[in-house]
Structures are given as C-alpha cells and as structure tokens.
Amino acid sequence: MTARSIAWMAALGAAALAGYSGLAGGLRPAESEAWASRTVYACDQRKAVIVEGVRADEKLPPAKAQRVADLLTDLMRYCNEEITATIALNETITVEANGRVFHDYVPGGPLPIAKASFGEPTAREEQIWKAELDKLVAEGDRLFHSDEIGTNGVACAMCHPHASNTHPESYPKFQTQLKKVALLRDMVNWCILNPLEGLELAENDPKLKALEAYILAQRRGVALDAGKH
C-alpha cells in the first residue's frame, strides 16, 4: 500500500467520523427533526442502525421498528463484522463496514464482506477457503511423499499410504515407546529422526505444519479420540 493511498484512506475515515459523530449518540442539539436520530444496537453490540428523524428518547413507530429489526437481523449474517447502517429520512439505507460505505443497500443484498463463520458462505468464499486449505495440504502431500525431509531415501508415505496408520485422531496420548504424552507432531518428528534419518523439524516449521495438515486432512469425518491406543 502506498503512502498516498494510506493518506487518502485516513482522510476518508476522518470524513466518515465527522459525518457520524453527531448522529450516533444523538447528543447534538435537535435544531430540527431532520437532525434527530436514534441508534439501535444488535445483541452482539457490533451492528448498529441509526434511524434519522427520530429523537434519542423517542419510541420508534411500529413499522419503523420492524424495519430496524429486519435490517439488524440481516446484518447479523456478517458475524464478526462491525457494521453501521443508517436509515435516512427518505428510507434509503447506507451501510458502513470495513471502512467502506455502500449506498442504497437493500436488505438481503450482497455486501463484499466475508461472512466468516456465520450464515451461508457464498460459493466464491468457499472456493477461496478451499483453495487456501488445499494449497497447504498439497504441500504436506508433496513432503509426505518426498525423500527430502530425510537423508536415506525413505519417505513417510512408504509406510503410510494415504497417511494410513497414522491415526492422528488418537493424539494426544501416552506414547508408550517414548514414555511420555505425545502429540501427532512428536511422532512426525520421531519418524523423521529415525526411519528417515533426518533432522527434527522445529515446532513452527512450515513443513511440519504442512505435514500435519496433510495427515489430518486424510482423516476428515473421523471422530477425535484422544488417548486411544
């Protein structure tokens, strides 16, 4: 990101703050009804709807209140996001999220925000997530089938085709041969050190993470069973 673009964004942010500062709390003296507003928060305290033309101490008319509730429910699709929406006097909705402003928002319509763990992800989101996961698993797959982490030509997959007989779901467990509780990564490193005659990987080594990712990905759907022998 260039210095210029940062400066530009900062300016935008400042402008946005200036625009909302008087509205959110409803503290500005009500010179006219048009300047009055009331803010309603969703239960997560992260979604806010500013209703223009209603004073902070004024009860919302039922139709308006329903509109606010519908909008908040809609915005709750974006679980972890902080979103502020404004219902203007002319009933148009403006949404501000992630520092971006979207005008004329229609509830239920698309917002370019990742839905994280809530709601139904879009096909595109799922594609991106899968691609990212597959990348890591593929690197683990490559290493698992390669002789490069050892020194004697032996590869993990020789004894463990499709990572079979690694039973990662049984870790942590008391590894009787090591005489201590082991995690999957401890056994991966044991195998690298012994049958592969290689050097142990550091716990934060991307190669170790990739190997774990591959092994675990082969066991999708298998119930965790820590301590099983």
Binding site: M158, N165, Q177
Partner: protein, 381 residues
C-alpha cells in the same frame, strides 16, 4: 542406559563396548545353524552381562522362527522358502533396507534342512536402478539354496524390465519340481499412463513407486501373458498341483493401493480347472490369506517395511496381525517358508522377525476354520 534400543543402536553400542562383540557380530554372517545358536547364546549372555538389555528381551535374534511348527505333520514332500519386497536403495550394506535383506538371507541360510529353493517375490529394487538391482543380486548371492526370481513393479518401470531381465532372465516362466507345476508371472503390467503425459522413465518409475499415487494404472497380467499361461497350462494334467507366484495378489483387495490385479478373474478362470492351486504373492507386506473356490492365496512378508491393512476389501480368511511397532525396525517384517504336502497342498509359514511365527495350513483354509470374528477388531488403518 535405556533398555529400548533399536537393533541399530544396540549394534553400535556393542561395537563400541568391545572388540569381541565386533568379532561376534561379524561372525553372525554366514554361519550354519548350530554355530548360529551357539553364537546367539553367547551374544545374549554377553549382552546381558553388559547390562545393555534384559535377556528375556533378546528374543529379537530368535533362531527358532525358521523351524517347523510344533505338532505339524513332518511328511512334507518338500519345502521352499521366500524372501520378498526388499526395496533396496543403492546406499550400501548399512542402509536399513539392505540390513533387512541381509537378515532374511541369514535367516533362510539357517534353515535346516535347507529349502529346495528360495523364491524372491519381487521389488528387489526401490526405483528400478541398475545399482539397486546389483546390490540386491550381491546380497542374494549369499543364499545357499538356489533362487527363483520374480519381478515387482519397483524393479520394472524405470526401463520396463530391461536391466532386470538381463540380470535374472525371463520375467515369466514355469518349471516343474517334484511333481508340482510352478508358474512365475509378471502381474505388475500397467496400461500406458506415461506417453500421453510425456513422463520421463524416472517420473514413470516414481509414480508407480508411490503406492497411493493415483496417476498410475492398475496392475494386470495382460492378454499376452494370459495367452502364454493358457498354453503353458494346456500341457499340464489337471491333477497336477499348481503353485503360482505373482507379485500382486491375483484377486481384488484394494484398488487405490494396487492391492489388486485388474484381470484377476480371467487369470483365476485359467486356474480353476486344476484340482489344487496355490497362489503366493508379494506386494502387500502383511499377513494375508484368501481362498476363492479351489485357489488358496498367501501373501509374503516384506524385509523393508510393513503395510497396514487397507481400509476395505480385506479377505475374511485373513487373521490380522496387530499393527507393527514403528520403534522396532524389524517388527512386522520377515521371510518365510512353504511346505508342499502330499497332494500338492501348501502349508504357509510366516517367519516374523519380532513376533511369534504364524502358520496358515491348508487344512485351516479348506476347512474354513479361519472364518469368523478375529482377535483384533478392524484394520489398523
């Protein structure tokens, strides 16, 4: 000192401790059985005295596993031994896989009486290289009994068997021995997956060497070889016992790992007309038993590494072995023998290096006494 040493560490430890030990270890190579027993006893005593390991733990070097099983009727017509799936890298005699094959050779040489011949079950090399095959030939040349060679996919797909055949002769052949007709097949043919993709011979070999590499085709005997087999068997009386050696199992166990022969049914159809048929195969690196109609199937142990049972398709005749201990290089590995009894039926012995020997008798198999629940629930997959 830790008691749980790997054999490698134990050996190193002993070498460092005493020059006598060094001589003893050397003398373990190429000794006859009586001498071997003597040496083993002395070795065990010395090890115990040195406090390296408890005597009762020393069953690791157990000479008894090559002996006939107690209670077994001794009137076998003859016995042959097998060694299989050594997967050698050309990294000298001290590489762990070379040690495995050396151990098997010592083991078979200790058999008394000696077997009529030793079948080598294929996958002598890991990546089909000449230097790997030459190392294997050198080690196998230490066997006292004559050797019959079979080819595996690891020997074949670098140069499509050119070097192997130059060294060991034809990959498909038959012979008669004491009234039994033996057939050696090359069941690891694969339909061409490499030309269209432009794989180099090395890439082709590496792909086939990956058990779980789905880019390859399935194993097959192939039409040409089936024609040969039909002609070969046409000369044989249907009452003559048949023993067929194939690298892959001549039935369908688990396709994703090529525990599989794609034209198995067609090959079986050629064998069904014979009264007594035994198929002995490599590739699966595990205790494996099956029976289809009149054909008994037995797997061979590897000398390099054991394989887990596949997640599906395990024949119900197989009495499973609990998963091997990775901390013991030789656990789940071994060699074995087969006794050919009058009538040509076969009792198959698994000489496991780190466990009690297992025998699957023809009587068990034909009487179906192996069927039913097993001691150990489910594959170790």
């Amino acid at each position: 000192m830790a008691i749980n040493l790997t054999p490698k560490e134990l050996e190193r430890e002993l070498r460092e401790r005493s020059s006598d030990a060094e001589r003893l270890i050397r003398s373990l190579q190429n000794c006859d059985r009586r001498h071997f027993l003597k040496v083993t006893a002395r070795f065990a005593a010395m090890v115990a005295a040195a406090g390296v390991i408890q005597p009762q733990s020393f069953q690791l070097v157990n000479v008894a596993h090559a002996q006939p099983v107690p209670g077994e009727k001794p009137e076998a017509l003859f016995r042959f031994a097998y060694i299989s799936d050594s997967h050698l890298f050309a990294r000298g005699m001290t590489h762990r896989f070379a040690k495995g094959l050396l151990k098997a050779v010592d083991d078979v040489n200790a058999l008394d009486p000696q077997p009529d011949f030793v079948l080598y079950g294929g996958d002598l090399a890991q990546l089909g290289r000449a230097d790997e095959l030459e190392l294997g030939q050198q080690i196998l040349s230490g066997l006292k009994a004559p050797v019959r060679m079979m080819v595996g996919e690891h020997d074949w797909f670098l140069d499509m068997g050119v070097k192997w055949r130059e060294m060991f002769g034809p990959d498909v052949y038959s012979f008669d021995h004491k009234g039994v007709h033996f057939v050696v097949l090359n069941s690891v043919q694969e339909k061409d997956f490499w030309t269209a993709k432009g794989y180099t011979p090395e890439q082709r070999m590496n792909i086939v060497a990956g058990l779980d590499d789905a880019r390859q085709s399935r194993f097959e005997v192939g039409e040409e070889q089936r024609d040969w087999l039909a002609k070969d068997l046409a000369k044989v009386d249907k009452k003559t016992p048949l023993v067929v050696f194939s690298h892959s199992p001549l039935y369908k166990y688990y396709e994703p790992w090529n525990f599989w022969t794609d034209d198995a049914e067609q090959v079986q159809a050629l064998l069904f007309p014979f009264q007594t048929v035994t198929v002995i195969h490599g590739h699966t690196h595990q205790l494996l038993t099956n029976r289809i109609k009149n054909i008994s199937f037995h797997g061979m142990l590897s000398t390099a590494w054991p394989w887990p049972y596949a997640p599906q398709g395990l024949p119900e005749y197989t009495v499973q072995m609990f998963r091997p201990d990775p901390f013991n290089q030789f656990d789940g590995l071994g060699d074995g023998t087969a006794d050919v009894l009058p009538g040509g039926v076969v009792n198959k012995h698994y000489s496991l290096w780190n466990r009690n020997p297992r025998t699957v008798t023809y009587a068990d198999l034909a009487g179906n006494t192996l069927a039913g629940p097993r001691g150990h629930a489910g594959p170790s997959y």
